[in-house]
Amino acid sequence: MNENKPTDHSASKVMKLLLGDEALALGAINAGLSGAYAYPGTPSTEILEFVQANPTARERGLHSHWSSNEKTAVEEALGMSFCGKRSMVSMKHVGLNVAADAFVNSAMTGANGGMLVISADDPSMHSSQNEQDSRFYARFAMTPCLEPSNQQEAYDMAAYGFGLSERLRIPVMVRLVTRLSHSRAQVATEPEAAAENTLSYPQNPRQWVLMPGNSRVRYRELIADREKMEQESVESPFNRLSQGSDNSLGIIASGIAYNYVMECFPQGCPFPVLKISQYPLPKKLISELFAKVDRVMVAEEGQPVIEEMLRGLLDTPSRPVLGKLDGHLPRTGELTPDSVMEALVKAVPSLRAGSVEAPAASSLQAELKDLVVARPPALCQGCGHRDVYAALTAAMKMYEAPKVFGDIGCYTLGWLSPFNAIDTCLDMGASITMAKGAADAGQHPSVAIIGDSTFTHSGMTGLLDAVNEDTPMTVIISDNLTTGMTGGQDSQGTGKLEQICLGLGVDPAHLHTIDSLPKTVEEMKSLFLSEFEHKGLSVIVARRECIQTARRHAKKA
């Protein structure tokens, strides 16, 4: 299992149609996973959902409960690794920010049982607030990083990654991107799952206690281990340099970008291509490519991580480098086969020869402009957030400059018309803390609106700050009893929100619960108005089950 051999896709394999997320999850189960941890976030959610539904996982009782947030999830997975078992933790890219303290320091403690930290990036921001590239985190923490280019590799990399993690005794990052996470293909899978590891403790117990004296020793080792990690990358079955007939250009293609490059050359690529799917970068292979070709194009999904390293601060690589920083490829948004083809044609104009016929619709372009209009997402009909916003916007009309601090979830859609109800959206939990800062600055009314799952993810700690100062602000927890935007996963605070607030010290006289229904809009509005006038902290829990999960529950019943 732990050898650097390409996986054998022989007849004993079972073909399955899997999303990239699912392939990775099944690969992990089949490689002897003992526990999966996660907080839902597009495009990573399907990883844990797959483990929750998988018969082998259920039979073995593998851990697959949602965690309160990404930081708790990483720590739980590391605890399992400490005990010698194979664990994985999955999140979306911005979730890794929440988990960064745990992740970066887990490179210092190292892993005992194999541990995969899966971070799914969302270039083009289909369902996210930024385009950050998780590979920076792997480099920063100094862990290896795997970046599958297709579903089969996602599957194979689970077993390989566990092996790598156990060889190097360090957590291994797996970086996914939307177009792999949410794309299906056939995958050759093992018919049976390997046995789980038995309980065993770290051979280097000092390293797990990150006191300065221990950390200084460990940090030197971690730096020294970079050489081993790089050697693994050079020998990796997922990194390979293929020869070409034309050395005027060489291409470095990482992860899913490799597919777009290959799509441009159905008859085979004439240029040497270095496929990168494992980091740290294999310097030896890159040197070989640079020695061979006149110029090097870098195609990578996300931010120009490889390209910046090759260019260096002074932009003096030994061969000209083409990529996102010189405009060959777009600097923002995800790559497409079109943008990669365009870049190749810019670099090698002769590739345009034999160019294609105009697409069928090319004569219609002018007409299309006003015939195709944006269709933004919207809150569902029958959603309780709608009624909360109806009441809130009505209450706000009584004030000259009310401010509402929003958060991450379906209710962020309250920014759009007809509600236009929120002023900010930053990160998970920021509604409460930004409302507090604004109230500290003298803003009145200062209102936070946050969902139930986001509240237990990162809102509770901020609420304690407001409790301790009895900050004059109003927190509305719009509780739909689920994690709605990602498709209705269990919410960790369901049934406990009022107790949590009271436990944190919210004044019972200013903690209210109300149903969020069309018929209670007036009542909600009055409640909001009276609490805005309270010169201290108020919390209002407005509750109604998500219409999507309610329909599912009705069907089951």
Partner: protein, 192 residues
């Protein structure tokens, strides 16, 4: 064999089940397949699109290059137009003519249908009507699949087996209704 299909619609209309059924059918035929879709925010009533690629040879990209799609299959006419840049010169559009109006700025439907009509290969009809007559309104997506099926290199029996596989767990009645809708869509398309 190679068939690149753009599936388009509005979140919640059921275009992803079309992809799942064709996927199940393609797997039985030992075809290569890639199907990219977007989950999350856009599923809340926004426009959704999925790239479905079937081929007897290995497929590189999960996304279809623009101007290369053999078929645009849409449950909504404006959504068919939104992705028209993907259509290859010989490609075909199969779409329902019923607009899904959930925005105040929805353009004039007659102009949308008129523009679609200027394309060389178009199959367009009221799929909700056919679904209501021959099955149930909720099976409109299977009428669409049926209407697209003559232009996909998979036998209708194989696609029906895919419907069986996907709806089987929900009961035999569900399977029958969806197969009826599929057949009605196919017949209507072939009779146009």
């Amino acid at each position: 064999m190679k068939c690149d299909i753009i599936l388009a619609g509005v979140g919640g209309q059921g275009i992803l089940s079309i992809a799942t059924i064709l996927g199940a059918a393609a797997l039985r035929e030992n075809l290569h397949l890639k199907q990219a879709e977007v989950h999350g925010m856009s599923q809340r009533g926004g426009d959704v699109m999925s790239c479905l690629r079937l081929s007897s040879d290995p497929i590189a990209s999960d996304l279809i290059p623009t101007g290369k799609a053999d078929l645009i299959v849409a449950l909504e006419p404006m959504e068919a137009l939104r992705h028209i840049g993907w259509l290859s010169p010989a490609g075909r559009v199969v779409t329902s003519t019923v607009p899904f109006v959930n925005i105040p700025t929805y353009p004039d439907t007659a102009r949308i249908l008129d523009t679609l009509g200027k394309l060389p290969n178009v199959t367009a009809f009221d799929m909700e009507q056919v679904a209501k007559e021959k099955a149930t309104l909720r099976a409109s997506n299977m009428v669409l699949l049926g209407a697209a099926s003559p232009y996909i290199d998979l036998s209708p029996e194989k696609i029906e087996a895919g419907i069986q596989a996907v709806f089987g767990p929900k009961g035999e009645k569900m399977v029958e209704t969806n197969i009826a809708a599929f057949r009605a869509g196919r017949e209507t398309a072939l009779s146009l």
